[in-house]
Symmetry: C2
Subunit: 531 residues, 2 copies
Amino acid sequence: MTGARLKYFGWGREGETITPAEEEFAVARAREAFGVADFETLTPPALDAIALKPPRVAPPQALEAICTSDKFDRAQHTYGKSFLDYVRGLAGDYGNAPDVVAYPRDAADIASLLDWAGGIGAAAIPFGGGSSVVGGVEHRLDGRYKAAITIDLRNLNRVAEIDKTSRAARIEGGTYGPALEAQLKPHGLTLRHFPQSFEYSTLGGWIATRGGGHYASLYTHIDDFVESLTVVTPRGRIETRRLPGSGAGPSPDRLFIGSEGILGIITEAWMRLQDRPRFRAGGAVRFKDFFTAARALRAISQAGLYPANCRILDPNEARNTGAGDGSFAVMVLAFESADHDVGPWQKRALELCGDFGGAPEAAEGANATQDGAAGMWRNAFIRMPYAREKMVARGIIGDTFETAITWERFEQFHDTVKAATERAIRDVTGRPGSVSCRFTHVYPDGPAPYFTFNALGRHGALDEQWYAIKTAASDALIAAGGTITHHHAVGRDHRPWYDRQRPALFGDALRHAKKALDPKGVLNPGVLIDP
Amino acid sequence: MTGARLKYFGWGREGETITPAEEEFAVARAREAFGVADFETLTPPALDAIALKPPRVAPPQALEAICTSDKFDRAQHTYGKSFLDYVRGLAGDYGNAPDVVAYPRDAADIASLLDWAGGIGAAAIPFGGGSSVVGGVEHRLDGRYKAAITIDLRNLNRVAEIDKTSRAARIEGGTYGPALEAQLKPHGLTLRHFPQSFEYSTLGGWIATRGGGHYASLYTHIDDFVESLTVVTPRGRIETRRLPGSGAGPSPDRLFIGSEGILGIITEAWMRLQDRPRFRAGGAVRFKDFFTAARALRAISQAGLYPANCRILDPNEARNTGAGDGSFAVMVLAFESADHDVGPWQKRALELCGDFGGAPEAAEGANATQDGAAGMWRNAFIRMPYAREKMVARGIIGDTFETAITWERFEQFHDTVKAATERAIRDVTGRPGSVSCRFTHVYPDGPAPYFTFNALGRHGALDEQWYAIKTAASDALIAAGGTITHHHAVGRDHRPWYDRQRPALFGDALRHAKKALDPKGVLNPGVLIDP
């Protein structure tokens, strides 16, 4: 299936979708949740039925070979994969299609594309896997820009060099998750960065958005795996040194990690790798409620045990993913190592769980993470992105938002944010919806709570309804001290809250830094800061 | 002794020094090393014998209470504690004494001081413990500045708030190491950041310079312990959110961590803390040579065992600190935990050492880190700063430099840098000196080698001789791919090599960011970037 084209609407490649049984499971849940027998179901328009404006610019001769204004390519690069993107895709609204989609072959091509864009007053939008759920790849230009050129990095897809001694690899920025792991596997190495978007997101995208990955503790974000970066900016190339550690001024890498394409395009990175794990221990642990599970997880996190996985699901979340019946909270716990038996680690973590009444499920042992509640949750996690487009089509407003907060504020924070979201759902849709919570990552000083909400919306008003709920949730979490994003990024959609969260003078510093690297404001205008 | 004044020459407070026995031990080593019976020994000039230029400015009335131009204060704030600082101090050269030393009581005072400095065209030099070994606190102004005002943060010395649940504390930037730990101790908490300068350096200084600390793996720098910062810039105050993790744009904290006082003054920080360790295991392990020890340490580091301590000393380094006789290399290994027995960790680490022929010393067990080679090394580490001023006075050029490099380049890197340094010592002094190496910190992708060199110099030429050796060593390590500093910072002394190491466009971005926060270039001119 990897030969097929990426869909212009929905997750993954053409022909890929959830099974009818999976779809029926999800729809049955929704019928029950909202007490309705049937949903008005829209069908995404065929490409023929979509109207695009004619492209406003054409590439110069030297760039013709890597540029296209083909309708499919333009439609396919119009949106990311957010709820709002799906709503507009369903409505056939492709008003923000880029004028040109470019597929550079290397860093030199990227430099030429940025020169061209700067020269004609166009914006350049970097595009990895296009999995942004925050408006990161949609240009939304105002009148200042003459056109939008999307730069798709898919041809920069190689693991270019492997250093087994230092356990690192030089990897091109456009490499998708599966291709990256497939190229490392023969060497016994792995990056082990598995965001939910793993199949359709790229190394460069993970770095640019500070993506969160496999490890629930210790190495939560891609940040710490970056050894060095090569970035092409409109003013030239930046290459940082390969250093295991340094104290020489503010870290150059850290300026680009999380810069979301506004400072430059990450063409390659030396990444710190892992040996493939051979020892595993883990399983699921039941707790009477979410806060009790959270307290146990705090104890584990502060004990310095560093489990690879230590997610907790509230009772609703456990039920929705098939990991529970709704009467208890679940902790999914896993230790892994390429070097040593992790039994002592797991034993101590379970003792700590026991201090809080946590009871391990029966299926412990080597395959515990594949079976039982842990396995159910894992499968749901991987299949989730394929299900979303099906639910939007039925008028169901389903979305997630994620944040982080210190432990001492967590319980009140959780209740406040949840209540604000539930209230907004009732106000906006006239009936209750569901709001559930899990932890995706955890730190000694606090968790990263991840909320999922579902509401029955109304076709034609889904965008406004979603925005009202999103606004209520975001206002609440920013007021209560959280971050507007723990690992989904800021993009254009989170700007109102990011602007409140970010110290104003840091915003100034970032704007000035951008001026130094991108004086014409070519790159990804509207993301993180105003152009 | 904590009531006494900090020395204007040398390490620590007035009256504090090494014992005569310690001094004799060090001198005997030097006699033997250089084959000389006696050293021409200078005495640092008394304060009366030092001439300072009259101060060029006087504070406005509102700042008089927190400012002084007292001779002792000015002399005491002229230098850090580098070799070059001691040479000039011995020569009575205090030409760069600040005009005014200010002791602000709070952030508001700092804002007033920065306003004043900006208004009169003066430079402001932030001063924590004054332990910089890289020219971080000496102004070296050119004609563009009318005067130099040193801002000593010593009155911002409180642990202001403790959050036991999240295991974090809000701590003022001028808090010295011992005062910080003393205020945390009653709560059972500890920052566990113990640089060699611990007694006479401050939290703000550690953060501003990306100081390296206690942990030899995992949490090597202060960076990861910073939960949030408050920074006073010439344009106003920046306060970042307390967040255990975030993916919202480039980290604001990471711009200030390592900014060495050029962007703002860190007035307080929420710091992530540890419970006090109750379980320990460790000891010293002997290896036939340094590279074999390094390979064992690579295995431990890549195994994900995260020892708190895992320094290795080459045979010379072991001999010089009393941890060996010069015929073998030593690994100092320690695991610690507040939560659980670390026996399984230690056991596996020793197995890995065994794979490389590493033989544990006899004194294993709970107190192993206090006894034997490990204990000798630890004591030498703490006493070292007191010894340096005694050796400089005898015309001995003794200094250290530290770097980091990936594993696959390490062995050649080590030999190249060591040879270049040895050659420079012979060329410059006409006789061989010593160059030894240890690892202070270690990462899965490479070590942080720390070199110590000693040479017999000539009074009157010590500065030039040192500079020639330093230049040869630095040129070699930069050419071979290292960083000019792993945790000592850049300051003014490392600028020529930092400028080569840092991508030029990142330098531009940093200059622009400074312009946003410090438009008049008041703060610490010459450090990291040109004003």
